[in-house]
Assembly symmetry: C2
Homo-oligomer: 231 residues x 2
């Protein structure tokens, strides 16, 4: 996991993980769903073999597509595998043939989603990658400062903190579900509750792609300030 959405943690040194994998002749598959388009993803420099992302998070296109890359090392492994692939849908060899110079039919591509993703990528290019990453970082820091000013600490230490998803720790005795309901009903803001062992203990606040904006952070912090006084 490059960017882990249940904790809000970012794996800060993928190259070191890749090095360990390759020493053992293993492949590194990296989940970049919540990082692609929001923070640097350097597939080749880090030595990642397979990386996949999502259209709907930091790229801000409609959901439905998952960009994927496959390294020559992983391609070789695909070509020489002996056990059959159990999933037609995610058989990368079939997908490879589909995208080859002599295409073999695999599926009807969702062309409207592909056009939408292309437009989203054009907007990424227009903003520029480094400006985009800086914007995600700046708005996340604005959120973190504001949450701390409200007396909320953050679950993840600064060195591993994800700019696209923040996880403030809930004050003891807070009505988690009630507060999030008010946030949605009164202010039209939806934030997510904790997952699994973190349920009721943290919130999950996304600032991804188009939604990573100063006005969104300010509005949320203002609404929280009001609600925390009364709940």
């Amino acid at each position: 996991m490059h960017a882990e959405t249940s904790t809000g943690a970012c794996q800060p040194d993928i190259a070191a993980v890749a090095e360990v994998c390759h020493r053992r002749d293993a492949l590194l598959i990296l989940d970049c769903v919540t990082s692609l388009g929001g923070l640097p993803v350097q597939v080749d420099a880090w030595g990642v073999d397979v990386a996949y992302g999502a259209s709907q998070k930091c790229l801000s296109a409609p959901p439905g597509l998952a960009p994927i890359t496959v390294s020559p090392r992983a391609e070789e492994r695909l070509r020489t595998r002996r056990s059959p692939v159990t999933s037609f849908y995610l058989d990368l060899s079939l997908l490879d043939k589909y995208w080859s110079e002599k295409p073999t039919y695999h599926h009807t591509a969702s062309i409207s989603l592909a056009y939408a993703l292309r437009e989203a990528l054009r907007l990424v290019e227009e903003e520029g990658l480094s400006a985009r990453f800086a914007r995600h970082q700046r708005n996340a820091e604005r959120l973190w400062g504001g949450l701390e000013a409200l007396g909320l600490s953050l679950l993840v230490p600064p060195t591993h903190r994800l700019p696209s998803l923040s996880t403030p720790v809930l004050p003891a005795g807070l009505d988690d579900a009630g507060l999030r309901r008010s946030l949605l009903q009164d202010f039209n803001i939806e934030i997510a509750g904790g997952f699994g062992p973190l349920a009721g203990k943290v919130w999950r606040i996304g600032l991804m792609g188009y939604s990573s904006r100063a006005e969104n952070v300010i509005t949320l912090l203002g609404a929280l300030a009001e609600l925390l006084k009364t709940k």
Copy 2:
């Protein structure tokens, strides 16, 4: 297969197939990809256990979604299966939980495609199912008559002929690829070549959903008349 797109054949008596399946305690899974929205699909009356279609053919929504139905008999089989499902993507038990009253997360749904499908279904409702089926049949018959007038016979006998996809047999010695290229370049009409053993022997002409229109049939027949004279 309810509607088979490599031959242009329609299975005319699904109820009889279902009856044989159920007598042997087997489930009937019906591929309705090229029939749903273009000709009657009577899942319950026929005794079909699982039926799936596609958003992009006779429903004329963007590609990317596959409507699916599961009978109580098939649900029971899903609930009591002992071998694990090898595909996360098409694990119907997980999808069932995702759509249940207490949803368990499975995937991020492609909401823009869902809205588009809803609008496509609204248009189906506005036209009315029987009017829609009659339109598909009428335009197919117009095409069949026109092709026969041009000296082309049809691969499939009338009793099994699909209104949404027609397969005229090519005259001997015809330059298949060249003619289809001219059709696309000069008239902006794309028809498909034959598949597998039918490659070079038939064309596959789709008249599905929005594209099943008198003007499309007339334009194609006019273009073919011109091109067949010169090729």
